[in-house]
């Protein structure tokens, strides 16, 4: 018998023919949406007896914007293809930005690493091991200069992902660099995440005490309202909340709750809702249930419009338009059979686009393993490009609108979101829900539920609890390493800067920052000046923290270098 025949016999013996035959007759195991709602076999006009198109749905570009914020949606402009970048030093990150710009990216998007988000300088004892591992650390104005080198800041749209209280420093560093390069900051386009409240739930609690989060988050918003009219100065991050394991309605309800904390503060400061609400944006997750995610986005748009109009009395239509970026769900990706992640990401991106997204980040397939390699990053961008240029999804606004199913599911998500918002109200509102750790308990119990669904096979994930195979020995497109030399060099440069800067100028600038914080003034102008005087991220934030009665250093390891 030849070798081929031997192999064939072996295959037959090893083939799982019983399961194979069973699979032919297989029915889906569950008829629930991802968030757990029972679904009908088919949706018909009977599910929509009280349909009021003009009031509840309406054409895209028309209140309550259920179908999209622009009448022609992608015919007017494609969504921004904005892949998140952050690796190693500011120079390494700059290189990756350039690479993506050469391959068809259309929006810059840089993410802070854990050290920067925590408000630590690169030379902080807790930071030195971790600089650049998960993003980029900007300690001084020099780092921001390196990151932005040769990029036409007056023409590009830049999304700065710093979410914690450090976003105040990021904004100051960006404005200082732009002004120093001769740009009129009034024309800068882009966004800053600036949602320190949500970041408490991403492990950055020491950097995000609630009062300081509201203070500094709102300072950025107020400053930009007056000085950067084209800038989107908060991206309320519902995505990160969803990543904690919550359902689609909880994602929206908790996100809106946090947004209202900032809105209430800005109104308290005397701003009119229509002065600032048009610059609010959201970061939304797209998970694996395509229709539920589209319904969630549609419901969120309708609810935001009504919230702005009815609760806050907004009159400018732009205040009522729910603008959002999507980050495909990182937590839906697994390291088992990693190429499958590309397929998951493509479906999630499809949901985002069917939902009418303004800006999209597709995860790279290697998200559950390492930072994206160049090839993986490019593949994520290509996923967006195939969607934009090959599939025809850009032709028609809100293509799923009017589907009996999607309209019913949109109503269902709205109804469930309102229930969660009522729960938050019942515990005393979002600030109280945060203070009493009610919100923490929601996240924790939902996360455990999600794991149990996997353990029991109630939710199936290929490679995890169905169609499993042996663990791969290698990562298909290689592994992204972060150069330890980059980090060492950045730490050395920061030390050198601190040794050689003009101390008198620095002291004066930091004094002014401290005084402004003490006098309850907006601290961003003083931060810009302190940044120019080579004040660092840790120094600026630490100074404001002390005024608010918190330790200079969130890790409580180092002391303030200023004694005046």
């Amino acid at each position: 018998m030849g070798e081929t025949n031997e192999k064939a016999v072996q295959n037959t013996q090893e083939g799982n023919w019983d399961d194979y035959i069973k699979a032919y007759y297989e029915k889906p195991a569950s008829f629930k949406s991802w968030s757990g709602y029972d679904l009908a076999e088919i949706y018909t006009p009977e599910h929509r007896p009280d349909e009021n198109y003009k009031q509840n749905i309406a054409d895209a570009g028309t209140y309550p914007y259920t179908r999209g914020i622009h009448s022609n949606m992608f015919r007017g402009r494609l969504w921004t293809k904005r892949e998140v970048v952050g690796i190693g030093s500011p120079a390494d990150t700059h290189e990756r930005l350039k690479y993506l710009s050469q391959h068809g990216g259309s929006g810059l998007n840089t993410i802070a690493d854990v050290t920067y988000e925590m408000g630590l300088d690169a030379d902080h004892p807790w930071a030195v091991d971790e600089v650049g591992l998960t993003g980029v650390n900007i300690t001084s104005i020099k780092d921001m200069e390196t990151l932005t080198k040769d990029i036409p800041l007056d023409k590009v749209s830049w999304s700065l992902i710093t979410a914690s209280t450090a976003s105040s420093v990021t904004m100051a560093q960006y404005v200082a660099v732009a002004q120093d390069a001769g740009y009129d900051i009034g024309i800068l386009r882009g966004s800053i995440q600036n949602d320190p409240i949500h970041f408490r739930y991403c492990g950055f609690r020491p950097a995000c005490p609630l009062d300081l989060s509201i203070k500094l988050g709102s300072d950025v918003m107020e400053y930009c309202t007056k000085n950067l009219p084209k800038w989107y100065y908060t991206t309320v991050n519902m995505y990160d909340l969803r990543e904690q394991g919550v359902t689609a309605p909880q994602e929206v309800a908790f996100g809106f709750g946090i947004a209202m904390c900032y809105i209430d503060e800005l109104i308290r400061r005397g701003l009119d809702i229509d002065e600032f609400a048009p610059r609010f944006t959201f970061y939304v997750s797209c998970h694996m249930d395509i229709f539920e995610e589209v319904a969630k986005i549609r419901a969120a748009r309708r609810m935001w419009a009504r919230l702005m109009k009815e609760k806050y009395g907004a009159k400018d239509p732009r205040s009522m338009q729910f603008r959002f970026a999507v980050h495909t769900a990182g937590c839906s990706l697994v390291p088992q059979q990693p190429f499958n992640n590309m397929i998951r990401i493509a479906y999630e991106a499809l949901a985002a686009v069917l939902g009418g997204v303004q800006s999209l980040h597709c995860c790279s397939y290697d998200e559950p393993m390492c930072l994206p390699t160049e090839k993986a990053h490019l593949q994520a961008l290509r996923t967006q490009q195939i969607l934009a240029y090959e599939t025809g999804v850009t032709n028609v606004a809100d293509p799923l609108g009017g589907s009996y199913y999607v309209e019913s599911l949109t109503d269902k998500i709205e109804e469930e979101t309102l229930k969660v918002m009522k729960e938050v109200e019942d515990v005393g509102g979002m600030e109280e829900a945060i203070r009493t750790e009610w919100l923490d308990r929601q996240f924790e119990s939902e996360a455990v539920k999600r794991q149990k669904e996997l353990d029991k096979g109630e939710k199936l994930v290929v490679g995890v609890n169905v169609f499993t195979t042996e663990q791969e020995k290698t990562t298909p497109l290689g592994v992204q390493k972060v150069s330890s030399n980059s980090a060492k060099q950045q730490v050395a440069e920061v030390k050198e800067l601190k040794r050689t800067r003009d101390i008198n100028r620095l002291n004066d600038a930091v004094k002014r920052l401290r005084d402004d914080a003490n006098d309850s003034k907006n601290v961003i102008p003083a931060m810009i000046e302190a940044t120019r005087a080579s004040g660092t991220t840790g120094e600026l934030l630490g100074t404001v923290r002390e005024v608010f009665g918190y330790p200079y250093d969130p890790m409580e390891t180092i002391e303030s270098p200023f004694n005046f």
Binding site: P335, D366, Q451, Q471
Partner: protein, 133 residues
């Protein structure tokens, strides 16, 4: 009757990594599986982890890594365990790692690595099989 000793597990994160969903979920589910769990939380250093492990006399240390810091901190933790003659406990790690790093982590002294997407049973069974009761 002599009560069977419950397996005692220390679950912790090290450094600045803030992704604590997994560590908390694993802590809850190990408790449900009958183990005693001490969740040390975020922002630990190798020294504080080993000190807590000794003070609590745990059978297992579970490290959660999701920010690419596993190759930096694992040797430091293992060294600290050796320095304190506390290296005969089970050391496991969970989180996001490239496949290529798993043999390296095992060489560094991790007994077993659980990647994201691991089912609870695999973790519980491993611990029960490897802790002498």
């Amino acid at each position: 009757m002599v009560m069977k000793k419950r397996i005692k597990v220390l679950v912790t994160k090290v450094g600045l990594d803030g992704h604590d969903r997994g560590a908390k979920v694993v802590s809850s589910l190990l408790k449900e599986a009958g183990m005693e769990v001490i969740y040390l939380g975020m922002f630990q250093r190798p020294e504080s982890i080993v000190k807590a492990a000794i003070d609590e006399d745990v059978d297992v240390i579970g490290l959660s890594y999701l920010s690419g810091e596993h190759l930096i901190f694992t040797p430091k933790i293992v060294d600290e365990m050796k320095k304190n003659n506390f290296d005969d406990v089970l050391l496991i790690a969970g989180g996001t790692f490239p496949a290529e790093d798993i043999p390296t982590m095992e060489e560094m002294g991790i007994d077993k690595v659980f990647r994201a997407g691991s089912l609870t049973k695999s973790i519980v069974d491993y611990i029960k099989d490897h802790v002498e009761e």
